[in-house]
Amino acid sequence: MSQVDTVGRAATTPDEEQPWAELGLKDDEYARIRDILGRRPTTAELAMYSVMWSEHCSYKSSKVHLRQFGDLPKSEALLVGIGENAGVVDVGDGYAVTFKVESHNHPSYVEPYQGAATGVGGIVRDILTMGARPVAVMDSLRFGRADAPDTARVLPGVVAGVGGYGNCLGLPNIGGEVLFDDCYAGNPLVNALCVGVMKHEDVRLAKAEGVGNKVILFGARTGGDGIGGVSVLASETFDAEGPAKRPSVQVGDPFTEKLLIEACLEIFAQDLVTGIQDLGGAGLSCATSELASAGTGGMHIDLDAVPLRDSTLTPAEILMSESQERMCAIVEPAKVDAFLAVCRKWDVLATVIGEVTDGDRLTVDWHGERIVDVPPRTVAHEGPVYERPMRRPADLDALQADDPAALPRPQTPEELTAHWLAVVASPDGADKSWVTEQYDRYVRGNTVLAQPDDAGVVRIDEQTHRGIALSLDGNGRYARLDPYTGAQLNLAEAYRNVAVSGARPLAVTNCLNFGSPEEPEVMWQFAEAVRGLADACRDLGLPVTGGNVSLYNQTGDVAINPTPVIGVLGVHDDVRRRVPTGWRAAGETVLLLGETRPEFGGSAWASVVHGHLGGRPPAIDLGAERTLGELLAALAHQDLVTSAHDLADGGLAQALAESALRHGVGARLGVGDDPFTALFSESTARVVVTTTDAAAVRRAAGQAGVSVTELGTTGGEVLTVEGLLELPLAELRAAWSTTLPALFGAPEDAVGTVPAGTVPSS
């Protein structure tokens, strides 16, 4: 069809066949578009509606559940809540922090390096859009079995991509997760978090206001890459052969993004914008309709003005293109010159492509003809909403009944040692340096703690020493056994990780990775996880500031384990009092805070030693978590502990090994008369601390009502459990640190993981 499909033409050719099904729309959705417009949509309009009404952009299956987060009691710390690009939290001294986690799962499966890289790029732009300077990133990753061939393809590329993009932007990577499970084969998860800092008065919002104000598109040129990419990919189930459509992937250009960041910050400092929005999934369709929808008037765009990389693109393709590193700003006419000057200084291409109009229509012209004329709210915010059917998984009762209590336990000290080494050497438990050494943790010079510490801690003010702490956690085994409790356990772990650093937890973000919402059992898992998370946030008094939903993570009819990845942000009044994770000195007392019960459901021990997943996850006690968190903050404040490490996957065995290996300091310990439970139970609300003043810690814990168990004393080059076993640190380190290099370490494994184009590396 060479003729441009104009609004006028659409009105006179109502019966023309349109490819709505190929674009992912259902017949009733297509009918609704016709209803809204009172005619058939033009080709360009159809493109816009189809991407914006995709699951990825419209949240049509998840919306009814996510409302629970908005209904949480109002938090005083929350300056901007859900609904904007990212929520904003008050962290004191006039500073505000914005943070959010987002998935790039499907693109990373298709093209690991670029998928992961552009995932980082996208979340950084979301943070920038709020008016903040991005200051750090984190990444939560899931892959199939560590020794599966496809993991060898996907993991090195994903890691290189996360590192390649983040390093080149100058953002320290301060933490994350790398976990493996068969359920992620063909459905790797790549969740990236970015955190940014600004002053309260610098908060910017995504809305188009002020008739006559100009719409400026700036950043990279628009190309044919990723047309329908993210939105279509992320809204589709892969079959065994991979994605049915292999749309061209987007290629990231972190250099352009770095310039975009610096240009934006200068633009904000000079107060040159009234509204701003990044271009992510659904590109211009999304940015223009969202800006217009959130604003007061309408908007007109002249599509001929959009700078193109490929002159053969059709108008629909320009509207759908997901070319990276682009932003859209609303600028008063008097400030346009100054805006363009800043962009010139930073070599950023900027073009006026339209303006804010009277009325309430979003109109787009192409070659002088009207090709789009729609009410923007119907595109951006009033898409379809589904109450999808839900059903408790048929296998859940059997799964929960399959209690790991029945599994054979280690009987001898030798078996106990072997199980300990097996957990520590398992791909989930092993040293992650092979991954994290590919990330720059030092850039900007404000990283106070980073991986392998429990939380990342960043200084935000060099004078006052104010700082923030962050952790991301998402155990999918617990959530498989019980999505309600599993989501809560992930929140509790992230909360505890932030608390052990000495910070006060303040706010929550999340990325909900699930299978297909069209499967009632998956939908039930999703609803349970959201309900669990909302209930737990209410109990802990924390707001959810935003997040992201990734559905259709399944191969054929097998879904991934439900994987709600939860991020918690905390604040440090003085980062000099932060508490690190590892043991540094000999002669300190090792104390266990919290109570241990025999809880092995979903545990690392059951999984690693027996390949078992069953029973119930550990019990959650949010009151205990809160008390423990407050105690940890008080201990840090009084400088009473020299290290603190939370107990999670792998229980005490894992925590002791990591604490000892951090600086090569051993310990002589006693763990009581049920060493198996002591070492491998995953009871929650527990932390190991070291101190030079055990009496004071006991006193403080006693007042708080937290139970204390003295384990022993640090020192030497052996981890000794009295009367039971001795683990020389050299042996422990060999078990812990060789797993990932053996799987992924050789240079030839890097071959093919990084494509020809963009390979920044210095």
Partner: protein, 79 residues
């Protein structure tokens, strides 16, 4: 020993930020006659005996290039 050259280039629709950066640098240095730059990889393989075209094509397409975003060109000795 026979040499086979494999050039790996980005597919035309994929953006090439490297090439663009080189082009911009050329412009700043006054080389205005260059209108576009695309950057790819250049492999020189030495093979034993007569090169097996099919095998080399497979190597090029699956290992040397990423077929999602790159194309390959093979040059055999007698080309």
């Amino acid at each position: 020993m026979p040499r086979v050259v494999v050039d790996v280039v980005l597919k035309p629709e994929i953006s090439d930020p490297q090439g663009q950066a080189v082009l911009a640098a050329l412009g700043r240095l006054g080389h205005d006659s260059v209108r576009s730059v695309r950057q790819g990889k250049h492999f020189v393989l030495e093979v034993d005996g007569t090169p097996d075209e099919a095998e080399l094509r497979k190597i090029a397409e699956t290992l040397l290039a990423n077929p999602v975003i790159e194309d390959v060109e093979l040059h055999f000795p007698n080309d």
